[in-house]
């Protein structure tokens, strides 16, 4: 009996996993794929360990701000982002990146920005305490 319950649960888990992999992104992923620059930028983002201070979708370390939607920020334009990465600040180190690497990181952040908004607006909270983020 115990083995039966366990096996059934494991089968449900396997199907669920398959569904998560194949359907978690509702958008047509053939049109939202990253270009070569964004892919390279993603690798640089990882190699320089940016996520240990910055969050994307609220996930990562907490020392620096969340960067999910920095690329579409109404105030902070590309020059602003570039200046931060190029020279660093008193709080953020200068990683001495090449221009090409900086361009790639910006392309990566643009791609992330297009995937959605980090902040859930108040109107999207339903009575059951859940979100309704369907379009």
């Amino acid at each position: 009996m115990k083995v039966l319950v366990w096996t059934s649960l494991f089968i449900i888990f396997s199907i669920y996993t398959y569904l998560v992999y194949s359907q978690c992104d509702q958008k047509d992923t053939t049109t939202t794929q990253p270009n070569a620059a964004a892919r390279a930028g993603f690798n640089t983002w990882q190699q320089k360990n940016c996520q240990t201070c910055h969050q994307l979708y609220g996930l990562g370390g907490y020392m620096g701000p969340d960067l999910t939607n920095i690329a579409s920020d109404p105030v902070k334009n590309e020059a602003y982002i570039r200046a931060f990465i190029t020279t660093g600040t008193a709080k953020m180190p200068n990683f001495h990146l090449q221009d090409a690497e900086i361009n790639n990181i910006i392309a990566f952040l643009r791609w992330v920005d297009k995937s959605g908004r980090n902040i859930v607006p108040k109107e999207k909270v339903t009575l059951s305490g859940n979100y309704n983020l369907d379009h």
Binding site: K2, V5, W6, L9, I12, F13, Y16, T17, V20, Y21, Q23, C24, D25, Q26, K27, T29, T32, Q33, P34, R39, F42, W45, Q46, Q47, K48, N49, C50, Q51, T52, C53, Q55, Y57, G58, L59, G60, G61, Y62, M63, G64, P65, D66, A90, K91, M92, P93, W111, V112, S115, G116, R117, N118, I119, V120, V125, G129, N130, Y131, N132, L133, D134
Partner: protein
């Protein structure tokens, strides 16, 4: 106990000390980046700290399983070679990982921040550990107590989540950012569940040994709670990615499954009187005292976790130090306490000299109080950010952090208390383990 397991305990305790030292340094680097960025920046200290913490827990848990399983499966049924190979590859890889951090070579995945090639030796060593466990497991009697189920589940699911955690290296998984993040946190979330299975199994084993009551690990009530825990391991990870505009059914499933944890909470409240009775009976036993501490921290952290698992509340807590309070509250208050209980039992801490026992007794309380201040100040830091950003809509990061830093200064001071107390306990335990090794030679 075998000598190599004792040495593995020593290695795990050294990782605990490393966690504490890097944690305190990281908290200073967070508060004073201008100074630390020149020598030891936060982006180096945090990986050192978080990886040491994770490896402390997983190495410690494996030491407990390697030793306690002999009691469950019989001493004749063991494979020492596989265990020794596991320990050597595992610890060797951890040293290589720290060397990479020292050289600023990163792989940039949350918790697994080292270059991905090092996942390979970690995988091999985990398979060796599984081999050493499952070979005697196959030969053992049917109808094993629930703690054996939990150890087996933890070992298996750690493997599955570890593999899943590395899927990003296949390009298809990176074609969509939402897919990439969802799967990363599916793996991370369930991985926490996997090591918790090993640790809660160990805690149940210790409770059986201390009370002499096998019944608590048998029968359908125990099985029910095991299945509830397993379902949460499999399906509740979605609370990490509530704010992601991914398919809603992932969020709905996770919200629903997370709420079943209220059952654990209610059971704790109901069992409170029994816990008090047991406490009176066993309060002189050191392993038992750590178990009581872990129960206390389960109570507080579960309440916080249940609240954070409601999306409407998660809107305020996500991306703030609420998450850090929960993460460290659980890994220190629950995981570390259970490990220290297991180590006390294995090393026979109840039989050491009175003077050393007295030191442990005092440090135990310093640790609990420091953790209390640490936990509440991190919650305060989270509250400030959640209130200013989500409630007031403040988008000035520096202004928000100026307030948050005040609370973090308090947690840094409390963190020093944790370093002193847990550090002293670790040193006493290391001495005990080493003395036992030397005496046997």
């Amino acid at each position: 106990m075998h000598q190599f397991i004792r040495l593995h305990i020593v290695a795990s305790l050294l990782l605990l000390i490393a966690t504490l030292v890097f944690g305190l340094l990281a908290s200073w680097a967070f508060l004073f980046p201008e100074t630390y960025n020149q020598y030891l920046p936060f982006y180096q200290l945090r990986p050192f700290h978080v990886s040491a913490a994770l490896f402390w827990i997983i190495s410690g848990a494996s030491a407990c399983v390697m030793h306690f399983k002999n009691d469950a499966f019989g001493y004749s049924n063991q494979n020492k070679t596989l265990e020794k190979l596991y320990i050597t590859t595992w610890i060797g890889t951890i040293i290589a990982i720290f060397a990479c951090y020292a050289l600023k070579k990163f792989g940039g995945r949350e918790y697994w921040e080292f270059p991905p090639v090092l996942c390979l030796p970690l995988l091999i060593s985990w398979l060796l550990l599984m081999g050493s466990y499952f070979l005697p497991w196959f030969k053992s009697a049917a109808n094993q107590p629930m703690y054996v189920w939990m150890w087996s589940t933890g070992l298996l699911f750690f493997l599955l989540t570890f593999l899943e955690q590395n899927l990003w290296q296949i390009p298809w998984f990176r074609q969509s950012y939402l897919r990439e993040v969802t799967i990363q946190w599916k793996a991370n979330g369930s991985s926490v569940g996997a090591w918790n299975q090993i640790l809660y199994g160990t805690s149940l084993y210790l409770m059986v040994k201390i009370s002499g009551n096998e019944k608590i690990a048998r029968g359908y009530p125990a099985f029910f709670f095991y299945i509830l825990g397993l379902s949460n391991l499999m399906f509740n990870w979605g609370h990490h990615v509530y704010n992601l505009p991914a398919s809603s059914w992932i969020r709905n499933t996770s919200y629903l499954i997370s709420m079943t944890e209220w059952v654990f909470f209610i059971r704790m409240v109901q069992g409170f009187k029994n816990t008090l009775d047991d406490r009176r009976r066993y309060k002189n036993l050191i392993p038992y005292r750590y178990l009581i501490a872990s129960e206390f921290w389960v109570f507080l952290n579960l309440l916080l976790a249940l609240l954070m698992s409601v999306p409407a509340i998660n809107r305020y807590t996500h991306g703030t130090h609420f998450t850090v309070a929960h993460a460290m509250g659980t890994t220190i208050g629950i995981n570390t306490m259970i490990l220290l209980s297991g180590f006390s039992y294995m090393l026979g801490i109840d039989k050491i000299k009175d003077k050393a026992k007295k030191i442990i007794g005092t440090q135990y309380w310093i640790c609990q109080y420091s953790l209390g201040v640490f936990w509440f100040s991190l919650i305060a830091a989270g509250f400030i950010k959640g209130y200013m950003v989500t409630f007031q809509g403040n988008t000035n990061f520096q202004e928000v952090m100026a307030y948050v830093s005040k609370a973090l200064t308090v947690s840094s001071i409390a963190g020093a208390g944790l370093l002193i107390s847990l550090g002293t306990i670790a040193v006493v335990y290391i001495r005990q383990a080493v003395t036992m090794v030397v005496r046997e030679q």
